[in-house]
Each structure stands twice: as C-alpha cells, then as structure tokens.
Symmetry: C2
Subunit: 245 residues, 2 copies
Amino acid sequence: MPPETPENSVEPLERQSLVDRVTARLGEAILAGRYDRGATLPPERDLARALQVNRTSLKHALQRLEQLGFIATRHGIGSVVLDPTETAGARLLSYLVFRASGIDTAVLSDLIEARTLLGAFLTRLAAERRSDDDVKSLGRVLEDLGRVADEPDAVQRLELVFFRNIMRATKNQIFVTLASSMFAVYLGRAHVFRDAFTDRAGVQKALGRVLDAVQARDADAAERAAHDYLKKNGKALLDAAKRLG
Amino acid sequence: MPPETPENSVEPLERQSLVDRVTARLGEAILAGRYDRGATLPPERDLARALQVNRTSLKHALQRLEQLGFIATRHGIGSVVLDPTETAGARLLSYLVFRASGIDTAVLSDLIEARTLLGAFLTRLAAERRSDDDVKSLGRVLEDLGRVADEPDAVQRLELVFFRNIMRATKNQIFVTLASSMFAVYLGRAHVFRDAFTDRAGVQKALGRVLDAVQARDADAAERAAHDYLKKNGKALLDAAKRLG
DNA sequence: GAGGCACAGTGGCTGAGCCACTCATTCACC
DNA sequence: GGTGAATGAGTGGCTCAGCCACTGTGCCTC
C-alpha cells in the first residue's frame, strides 16, 4: 500500500494499450450478446483485419478473454463464445459494474447488497473463530485510522484492510479470496467511491463497535454491528457512484 | 451441457499447449514464492530464452498471468510480481486447490466448508425471495434427476444446476457469479469428485427437502436442509479427492 | 458400408525487427 | 549549487511473414 500523500488523491491518467482496447471491445461485444453463445468467433485472421490490429495482438487479447472465461479457444476449431455469467465467476465482477457505457448501478447495488449480507455473515463467523492475534491486528488498523488525517483515500484503504483482517479471522482462506474479488472491484476504481469515506470519525466508531463484539466473541452483536456499518456505508457508496456515473 | 452418454464417464486426455505450460510454470513459481513480491520478473527476452520459448509465446502466458492477478506488467519497467492471495481473487481458487504437487486438501476442505456455509446462507435467502418460476425450474431439475440413470456424472451436473438455480432465486447477480467461481473449481476436474455422486436417490431426496422448504418460503428449514446436504456431500467430496489426490 | 486419405480451414508457434516508454546519467546553463 | 534538457541503456508494445499442427469433411478405395 502506498503512503497517503496528497498526490494520491489525484487519480493517475488511465493509459490503455492496444491489447487493453481490443480485450475491452470484444469483451463488451460478448457481454452485450452480439455473439451467440456456443458460436465461434470469426477466424483470427479475419478478426484481426476487421479490428485493424496484428494477429499477434489480437491473440494476446484472446488469451486474456479465455482466462476471463469469455471464450474457449480450441486448436483447429476456433474460439467458442461462452456465457460469462455462467463461466467467468468473480473475475467478471468489475466488468459487470464498469461497463463501457458507464457504471451499471443495478449490478453495483447487487454488489453492495452482497457485501452487506456476506460481510455481516462472515463477521459473525470471525467473532466465533478469532484468535488473539486477529484482535490485535484489527486493533492496529483502528489505531491507524485514528492517526490519519481526514483523508478519504486513507480511510477507504484502512476500511478495506479492516475487513480483510476480519476475513482472515474466519480462518478460511476461501473467504479471504472471495472477499478479494469484491475488493478488487473498488480497488480498481477507488476514486469513484471516494465521497463515501469523508466521515472518518463515523467509520472509526462503527468499526470500533465491530471490533468490540468480535473481541467479546459475541457473534450476534458482531453480525449486527457489521451489518449496520455495511448497510449505511453501502448507501453512501451507491450515492457516490451515482453522482459520478 | 452434453448428454449423459457412457463415453462421458471417461475423462478426455488433457492436452496442454506450450502457453498452458509456461503459464503453469510461472504461476507455480510465483505461488511458491520463488519471486519476491514487488520484484520484477526477468526481462521477457531473458525469460523466453531460459524457458526456451519464443518471446511471443511467453508474452501470451504473461497476458494470462496478468489477467489472473499474478503480475502487473508495465511498459518500460517490467512485470512486477504481485501477491496472488491479495490480488487474484476467486479466479485463483482452482490454482490453489490443484497444485502441481497434487491436490491441496487443506485448501479443498476450506473450500468445502465455504460451500457449506455460504450455500446454506444463500439458500435461506433464496427461500425468502424465490419467485414461482424459481420453484418451477428447481422442480424441473429434480425431475431430470429422477429420470437419469445412476450416472454419477449426470448426478453431479444436475446438483450443480440445482444450486445455480438456488443462487438465481436470491435475485442477486453477484451471488450467482461468486458461486460460479466455486463451481468452476470442480467443473474443471469433475472426475476427481465423481465418487461423491454415486447415491443418486440420496441426493434427490436431500435436494427435495431443500426445494420443499424453499417452496414453503420457510427460511429456517431451507437453511437447515441445505446445510445438511452440503455438509454430508462435502465430506464425500473430500474423501473422493483424497483417494485420488 | 467401412476405412483410409487428402484437403481446406483454423489456431499454435516462431524469429526478426522496429517503436515507445522509463529511468538514471550527463551536461549545459543559469 | 541548483535546474532542467538531452542522452542512452534497458525494457515492454506491436508488427510482419511464415510455417506447423489440429480438426472436420468429403471423396475415394476396397
């Protein structure tokens, strides 16, 4: 994690390589249903000519799309179009939220609801399973949160670290990993949600209640506290995105 | 989905392209910690020479690894090694379970626990939100399950379809997507878990209880029924994998 | 009819080369 | 001494042209 310097509050210019753009173009086309599921994409040579890129560059994009679960490429046959919502899994999330046409608020509100429900459920689990070390590291995050200036970026980052540590406290690697998938959506576009983290003191207080319940191994209280925070913050996230999207 | 013919019970030979192997090799090396986090990989020209592949093929593999969240490649700098457990998200799951050295049963049992807990939780949600169409499509899956012969592959496939429909009944796209990530782990290696699906009648009965509760909108019963099934089947999955792994 | 074979279409992979970006160094200028 | 422009080495981005390998089809032979 980078330190919280003023220049961090300015988003770096987004630079796209040719392969980035080809991947996005084809990915959008598939998501939009412009190719039938199970049909094959046009031959690479044709597709490259149509996109006016070299076949090698096109193939780089196809490698990515295959990894994403958008297509399955088979030697001698072609690239078969899959249904990303069936096969792509969590790696698809940020694609679904940040569409070429702007932010898809329907998907985003689903995402925020999922965050609220799963976050609360897993905080309950964390309260049951937490070790003393977990309590300590959560405490340290809250201390850091008390020390930083009222920088939304820093608050946002520490909130994410807090929940990552909650996931660790469940003692199940899979939850950490699934949570990362959801975190990744807003890590990539953190600035969109910046306005949801202007109230440092409020965040600190709410997470403090979560920590207290986890420390006390009070599963019900932990679930409630997490749910309260995530619900309220989720509304702020959605508002922030709507203002920008 | 392919029909349930006898030849489906034989797994096709796994054929790996050069790029597959390069990706696996480098991915394993990063997972094993053979490169420091934040360090750069060797220059592409050197790495290609070392692996005895063309630079283009190496780059295909790097495109995939970048998409997987293993590395971040920057023009003029190099490919920076990331910590996949932090950045890779759910797309990492099957990598974590199926290691070059064999199946990682610790991760697999975490995965199975996660499946049990989340599956039960989301079945509860599905019971609260299901539409009549959801009940119908779940019913159709169970009918199919009644019709197929005692083919473990078919049972396994239909069980997965059943739970995919449960996820759809939550009316939240994100849950469908997250579930796909977990399904993907065993879709890729279905034969490993085959032995957990030999008791067709048992599966049918257990899922029938889930459906009944969902239909009755009885959240508690639905959660319980799903938990019971997933717990028991999870044990069978782990046993099956251990016998083969 | 069954099996073998040839061919067209498609992706896999290579080698060579030039372009574009980044960073550290150098050096001229104030 | 500080500043900033120019340079050059190192690295990834992208292209081009071509051959190899796999798949499915349809013909041909027996």
